[in-house]
Symmetry: C2
Subunit: 144 residues, 2 copies
DNA sequence: ATGGGGGTTGCCATCATGGGAAGGTCAAGG
DNA sequence: CCTTGACCTTCCCATGATGGCAACCCCCAT
């Protein structure tokens, strides 16, 4: 039985997080020493490691609750796990697409920006009114 | 002079957000009617639209403060704007890379998961201890 | 017994926003 | 004139997942 600091070091989950996870019911309340110190055994450290790895993969606490339930359940069907994982992959990819759209739009605006000491700037102009610099074939009226 | 609801509709920024932006000093406090209603003119609506578009591109409120200052500054150099924009593009791309790493790792795990009604599951095994399913050439010991 | 390095709880802050309560205001219509 | 409903106001609470800090307790070695 080790204390929270050691459990944190071994699992890679900060003591603060461990207490937080306990407070929200993600993990069971740890046993306490006579002095009130939380005590952890190998199984709990392993569980914390599981949680950390899931977090590293971007799973939310809520999803991790489900993953933990499946991990503990010897009768689980791998289909359930796979469904959860693929749903998360889809979520991640949706976010990636969103971010790519932002980055793309911004790069497009930045590409036509001189970047000199004059005030003319398609980026600012794009943010003000103009949806995204029309440029309908090179014949667009000079914005300046 | 229109009220906050109309300004919200025309700018695409919710009334709630407009009040919030005012409270944090992102925009100036609006004039008030005798009854205390906030009143907006076309310029302010335009400014709100600017903010909304910047938010759509993923800029933080803090960055938008800078963008607004540049927008208002006729003496600005487009280089300053461009630098801000490209910094943000870099941030976005860093986040994209992170998310791609997560999605990739998870897809890798999911790919070898049967997804049937048996409990065997490389995804769960990957989250527990094993960094990422070794599979050193097909001769890896069956985990089951 | 004392000092230092743990542990404990609890509150506040983040970031940007939504929700809702409690109450004031305005325009229209009976 | 009064009601109704749609608007506005302020203020407080909640989100997700953490970090930071304060005030206090505990244990071990010197």
């Amino acid at each position: 039985m080790i204390t929270i600091g050691d459990a944190a070091e071994r699992s890679g989950v900060s003591a603060k997080r461990i207490r937080h996870y306990e407070s929200i019911g993600l993990i069971d309340a740890a046993d306490r020493s006579k002095a009130g110190y939380r005590l952890y055994d190998a199984r709990q450290v392993e569980e914390l490691g599981f949680i950390r790895r899931a977090r590293d993969l971007g799973f939310s606490i809520e999803q991790i609750e489900d993953l933990l339930a499946l991990w503990r359940d010897r009768e689980r069907s791998s289909a359930d796990v796979k469904r959860l994982a693929l749903k998360h992959v889809a979520d991640l990819e949706a976010r990636i697409v969103e971010l790519q759209a932002m980055a793309g739009a911004l790069k497009h605006l930045a590409a036509t920006c001189q970047g000199d000491d004059r005030p003319d700037c398609p980026i600012i102009q794009g943010l003000a009114g103009a949806p995204a610099a029309p440029r309908t074939g090179g014949k667009a009226p000079r914005t300046r």
